[in-house]
Each structure stands twice: as C-alpha cells, then as structure tokens.
C-alpha cells in the first residue's frame, strides 16, 4: 500500500538519538504554549517514542485508521505531548496544529483524544486502562487475521493499578504474541520513589509469572531499544520490555528531582535546558 511506513525502517542510531532529543525540545516548546505540562515523564521515554515512531512501528500517515497499522496505546497518557510532534512530522496532521496545543478548541490536549487526533490509536488519561485496550486490539487483529502489532507504553507506578494485572492475565491466557508492553521504569511516582509509594518489584518476575516473555533494557540506549523492539515475538506469548530509564533524562537539573513531572520552565531555565539538549545532537 502506498504511503505505508514499514516496520524496521532503515534509520541510523544517531538519527534516532537526535529524534529523541528533538522530542524533548518539542515538549519544552509545547509546554511553553500551555503554560504548564509534563516534562520529565516524557523525557524518560523519548528514546522509546523515537524508536517506535521512526523505526519499529508500521504506520500509514495518509490513512491513519488503516486496519493493518501497528498501534500504540498509552497507559501514561500524559506523554501525548511527546507524541504529537512525531505524528505531525510523519504527516498525520498539519504541524500548525502543534501551535494550538491546549488552547480553546484545539484537538491537542494534555491527554490524547483518538477522535480528534489522527494517529492516536486510543484515548488515554485514566492510568491502568490501556493495557486492556491493547489486549482488545490484539484479539481483534487475530480475529481479523491481520498481522498488526499492538504496543502499550506503561508507567512503572501505573503497575499499582489492579486492571493492569487483569490485562496481563488475559494477554497471557489468550497467547497474544502480537502485543508488546513497554514499561517506562523511570523509578518515580508523583509522591516519591516507586518503591516508597507502593512497591511493584519484581516487575519482570511478576510478568514472567503471568506467562509473559520479558526483556530488560536500558531505555536510553537506543541500540538496545531498537533490538528489543525489532526482535521476533516468542510464539504464543506477549512480551514485556522493562525499560530502565531516568525521569527527566537529558536535562541535568530535572534528573535531580521527580518534581518536574509537571511544571513550567521560565525563560532562563528553558534556554539552559534547550542548550543542554542541543549540545548532544549530531545534526
């Protein structure tokens, strides 16, 4: 089909690293429009989003609801701010939409609305729902004999939600090897370290005990993310990629505290953050 971006696209590691940095820069730009927003929980999964949108997922920007596209559902819906720039860049909607981010009537809110934003596969915002939605999509792909793959991006504190484990049980029960969950394990909830707020360890052990194939990676090592996201599925088993990440990754003062989950950067700090990110970019 014309316009389909295939899986495992030909793109270099350096380019994917730059895309991740660009996602951070765009996040800073859009928060500036909104006056507040999620920084550090986007920064922790910037490399993951870069690899999914520019390398791993089969997409069709001209036909956003193409039945055989790969899908991404968000447990952590607040990372939409990092996804909108990718969707606009890939041609799902005009990049001018980004300039309206969160303004009255904009299709683009903090949490994504599938009915308003081409390329958003499911609305999100209520933590814990969307792994179940992903199970439904994976079952539907099987029922429709489509080889579409389903990705679910989850937060680590999100794993406290009981529905996650209902979904984990169902995914294994139905043998959904077309479903991959990525846990962005940045180590923090809003109120402190995950282990202090409500422990979830052992994450990989729990998913493995439920019957999932599990992979442990450094979520900022682009080559490792690429390898994990392009590795063939274990037949009959859903996969959980446990991506160890750093909340606020890429801006040094944000890496020091969890409180940049939500906030606003005044011009001085914004410029410092931008400058730090740009220094790492190749092009």
């Amino acid at each position: 089909m014309n316009g389909v971006l295939p899986r495992n696209r030909d793109i270099g590691i350096g380019q994917l690293q730059d895309r991740a940095e660009w996602i951070r820069l765009e996040t800073i730009r859009l928060v500036e429009i909104a006056g507040s927003g999620h920084y550090s929980s986007v920064f922790s999964c910037a490399e993951i989003l870069s690899v999914l949108y520019y390398k791993a997922m089969r997409l069709n920007p001209a036909v956003p609801d193409w039945p055989d596209r790969d899908r991404l559902v968000l447990g952590k819906g607040h990372v939409a701010i990092g996804i909108y720039p990718c969707l606009a860049d890939l041609g799902f909607f005009p990049s001018t939409w980004l300039d309206t981010y969160t303004r009255l009537g904009s299709p683009l809110g903090d949490h994504p609305d599938m009915k308003k934003v081409p390329g958003i596969d499911f609305s999100s915002g209520s933590i814990g729902h969307n792994l179940s939605v992903g199970v439904g999509m994976a079952l539907a792909a099987r029922a429709r004999r489509s080889d579409a793959r389903v990705w679910a991006l989850l937060g680590d504190q999100e794993l406290n939600e009981g529905q996650i484990w209902e979904a984990a049980m169902a995914a294994a029960h139905f043998g959904l090897d077309n479903l991959t969950a990525i846990v962005d394990a940045n180590g923090w909830g809003l109120d402190g370290r995950v282990g202090e707020v409500m422990s979830i360890e052992p994450v990989a052990g729990k998913f493995a005990a439920f019957g999932w194939d599990t992979v442990d990676i450094d979520g900022h090592d682009v080559a490792a993310v690429v390898e994990a996201c392009t590795r063939p599925a274990e037949p009959g088993r859903p996969r959980m990629i446990l991506a160890h990440t750093l909340k606020g990754k890429g801006v040094s003062f944000m890496e020091q505290t969890p409180f940049w989950h939500l906030g606003y950067l005044g011009p001085l700090d914004r410029d410092a953050a931008i400058s730090e990110i740009k220094q790492r970019m190749h092009a």
Binding site: P67, M114, D121, G125, M137, A138, V150, Q163, A170
Partner: protein, 327 residues
Amino acid sequence: MNAPQDPKSWNIETSLPRLTAFTMGDELADMAAGRDDIVVLTADLMYSNGTKAFRDRHPQRFYNLGIAEQNMISVAAGMAASGLTPYVSTFASFASLLGAEQIRTDLAYPSMRVRILAHHAGIAMGFYGTSHHAVEDLAIMRAMAHMTVVSPCDGAAVRGILRATADVPGPVYIRLGRGVEPVVYDTVPAFEPGRFVTLRQGKDATLIATGLGVRASLEAARKLEDEGMSVEVLDAVYVKPIDADGVVASARRTGAIMTVEEHNPHGGLGGAVAEVLAESGVPARFRRHALPDDYALVAPPTHLYRHYGLTADGIAGRLRSMLQAGT
C-alpha cells in the same frame, strides 16, 4: 453418586431453559451469522446470562475474560477501535458500578460501538443482597454523553432492542432483568429509536414503565379499567434518549403521569420524565413509583416486588391514591 433423580433438583446448567427472557444469546448468534463484526464477551457468567447459546454456535467469537469486569470493558473498547462490535455481559451491578469509569472513559467518551448486556438489574438478585443489586445504573448511564440506555421488558423485546440498536454508532447500555420476565410482546417488536411504545391508550392517567414494570403496569391498567379508569401504558424501552414528545403528548392527553421502574427514585426513568415534563410547561400531575432511596431488604425477588409495590396491585394502588389525592 450418579446424576440427580429428583425432578425438583436444578443447577446452573439445567436451569438454563427457564431463562426464557434471556434471548440475547440466540439473537446475537443469529445476528452474527450475517455479519462478522459481532463478538460476545462475558466475565465467567455465560450460564447465568445465557450467552452460552452464542458460545455454542460461534465459539471463535466468544471471549470469556474471567472475573475481571473492568478489563473486559476496556478489552471491548480495544476491539471496537479495531472494527469489531463487542457485546459485553455481566451483572448490572458490576457493569454499572465496578465498570463505570471504564464505560465512561473507554466506551462513551470515544463513542465505541460496544453494547453492555447488564443483566439481573434492579433487585432481581433478591436475597443475594445489595452487592448484587443495581438500582443506580439508569442514573449513572443516563449521565454519560454518547450513551444510549435501553431497558427491554421481555424476551421478545430483548430481541427487538438488539435489532434496533445493532447499528448505533456509540455504546449502548442494555438493562436486563433475571431472564424469567413474563411475556408482554407476542412477537418481536420493531422499536423506533428513542420512542416509547404505546401498549394501551387511555384518557385519565398514564403509566410510563420500563423493564419489569411494563407487564405489571399493563395488569394494573386492566384492574383500574374495571373501576372505570382509563389508563394509558407506555413502554419506555428507551430511557436515553427519552421520548420527550411522547411524554408531553401523553401529559396533554391524560393530565396525570406516573413512572414505574425497578430503580432508586433518583435519576432513573422517573427523573428523565420529570425533567421533560417540568421543562415542557404542560400542567400534569406527576409521581415516581420506584424503589425507596434505601438498600433493599433481603427476600426472593417476587417477594421484594410485592413488598415494594412493583406489582399490578402495588402500581394500581399507588396510581389510585395519586388520582384521588387530586394533586
């Protein structure tokens, strides 16, 4: 020990044929024969709700999600987003209360084509108690944008409403009883979207009933006819959208309306009709006949219906006193 010998014995499996009003398993199996998008989900209740009939005919399109209702609803959302039309089935109490947030956020907000078969609604679970009663569901579901809320009163009406709502673009909450509701419709009715069905015309008062209350209201109307009262009976099979024209027209005809429902007095059919009536400016006497604003007693369902007046006698008495009070 061999199979039980006493004909009075029954169990979950052998009682299935008694659930004559749970026609959805068969009806959906018929519908699914002609279209490949229909799937049925349940939460370990295929015997209790008769969806086993669908499982037997379309095993590949039947999904048992186990006792995990929230997951079931969100899974259905994902299926609907991928082009399927899922029918999820569980007790109304669990669907509407445990699953309320999944229904609001994952089905109603994005307008997913998911149908919720919410059975054993009201106090149909009798002495199983409040955890298994659903007397708030109409209020909850009615408050959700994009939601259609229907409440068929017998087995033929269940078939009729499944046909009538087959192509509704958003979610549909289908409120069902306990599967043994007596017959109101001799043949499968062709429901018009958002319209009451006039089961009986009258001049002195109107009973607008839904679900279990429909048959009892018809019987009440016959009793009152013997006393010289002419009572109109409307089947509010659609609770949302409510038939506003039907409410107003009937209020003009009879000048007295009583709603009948197996629900808390707040926010259900009575609330919906009251809203229409109050805003219409048409002067009419009005009463809600519902369950009290309390948690129901424990008893077999039929005893509870008698106790709470959801019977022909109870309804007739209530309407009689309303008309005699003259207010």
